[in-house]
């Protein structure tokens, strides 16, 4: 399988997302609608803004939204809520659960044990493995 086909199905989301164009909206092949943005607590006006004028937390959530285009089968999420306050983090957790649903799967790396518990999924503790 060519690498770009594989990556179209298995989506890696880096802890610190990178941006290649000037404006946020340029990174989306299809502009996300207001509902999709609202689910992550994002203001629709963000799409027209330069990437440099967004906060770390906004960029982290925008990168998750970007990761749905094209929709993968598997998500590899590296610290998906590291830059978020508890309320927003909870929102993102609910969003991840609903996107993954029953048809897809996600592998989440986190240092936050509470997050691991809340996701209600099998947990592999590297600490336990090392012991």
């Amino acid at each position: 399988m060519p690498a770009h086909h594989w990556r179209a199905r298995v989506r890696y989301c880096a802890a610190e997302p990178a941006w290649w164009a000037q404006h946020v909206g340029d990174h989306f092949p299809e502009q996300p609608d207001g509902r999709a943005l609202d689910a992550l607590g994002l203001n629709p006006s963000l799409l027209g803004r330069p990437v440099a004028q967004t906060s770390t937390g906004e960029r982290q959530r925008l990168a998750l939204l970007r990761a749905l285009q094209p929709m993968p089968d598997v998500f590899l999420l590296d610290e998906p809520t590291s830059a978020l306050d508890p309320d927003t983090a909870a929102r993102v957790e609910r969003w991840v659960s609903s996107v993954v649903g029953a048809a897809r799967c996600a592998l989440v790396v986190t240092h936050d044990c509470a997050l691991a518990d809340r996701l209600n999924a099998p947990i592999v503790s590297l600490e336990a493995l090392a012991a």
């Binding site: 770009h4 610190e16 290649w20």
Partner: protein, 261 residues
């Protein structure tokens, strides 16, 4: 015929170089550098004259063809050498092969079509025009590849983010390749636009001094500027496309190359 420069003329020129060295003696190194540069040039020109004289005497297509290959070879070496000390065998071979191809496919047929020299391998026409076209492509190609390197180094995370979203490497680097090609071609475009303003182009001056009619000389200038643009464009496009492949692998990952010192 143009009047020859005699021995006393040369003596005068050497004296003028000496005087120039004294004028710029504000720095103790500069006069020496100036004189060494002229000595080097004199040696190079003597060798060049000997080679061109020999080619003119022989005037057979195979020797002339080998001279053109030698020009492309030296041009390719120089291109590879100028790219941020990226003096690796694949780059050298590639630059040489591209210049050979550009010369054989673009420059040489153009000279034959436009000028139709008699015989077709006339050293007086083919060698200098080929040399100018190939030589002038070096700077643009080196600039384009150097720009590509810098932008790839700086844009690594942005490229990898696009790869992670399932884009092909060529799509993820398209923007960068475009800017590198533009950077390499711009000097050619500006030089072309400025041709004939302020100074008379070097080749045209030579022809006019040699007694050519200005109306004829400008046609040759047109030819040479077109060949420079064409050979530079082919060289840049091919070098950028092949250089990009060196920054990725069979799994379409970004492979950083060692930053040149």
């Amino acid at each position: 015929m143009i009047p020859a420069i005699g021995t006393w003329g040369l003596v005068f020129l050497v004296a003028l170089i000496g005087a120039t060295a004294i004028i710029v003696a504000v720095d103790h190194k500069l006069p020496r550098q100036l004189i060494i540069a002229f000595a080097r040039m004199a040696l190079q020109l003597l060798i060049l004259a000997a080679i061109l004289g020999w080619l003119l005497d022989r005037s057979d297509p195979i020797t002339t063809g080998l001279a053109l290959v030698a020009i492309a070879l030296l041009g390719g070496l120089e291109t590879a050498y100028r790219v941020d000390s990226l003096y690796e065998l694949p780059v050298i071979l590639r630059s040489v092969a591209i210049l050979l191809a550009a010369g054989a496919v673009v420059a040489l047929p153009s000279v034959l079509i436009v000028v139709s020299p008699e015989p077709w391998h006339d050293v007086r026409l083919v060698v200098p025009i080929f040399g100018m076209a190939v030589g002038s492509s070096i700077a643009g190609t080196a600039l384009a590849v150097t720009t590509l390197h810098r932008m790839l180094q700086d844009g690594r995370t942005a490229i990898e983010a696009q790869l992670a979203l399932g884009r092909r490497f060529t799509d993820a680097t398209r923007h960068i390749a475009r800017q590198a090609i533009t950077a390499g071609m711009l000097p050619v475009v500006t030089a072309t636009a400025a041709t004939g303003m302020v100074t008379i182009p070097g080749m045209m001056s030579g022809q006019i001094i040699a007694g050519a009619a200005p109306a004829e000389a400008i046609r040759y200038q047109f030819l040479i500027m077109t060949l420079i643009a064409a050979v530079t464009a082919v060289s840049i496009r091919a070098n950028i496309a092949l250089e990009l492949r060196r920054w990725t692998d069979h799994r379409a990952r970004f492979r950083a190359r060692r930053r040149p010192q």
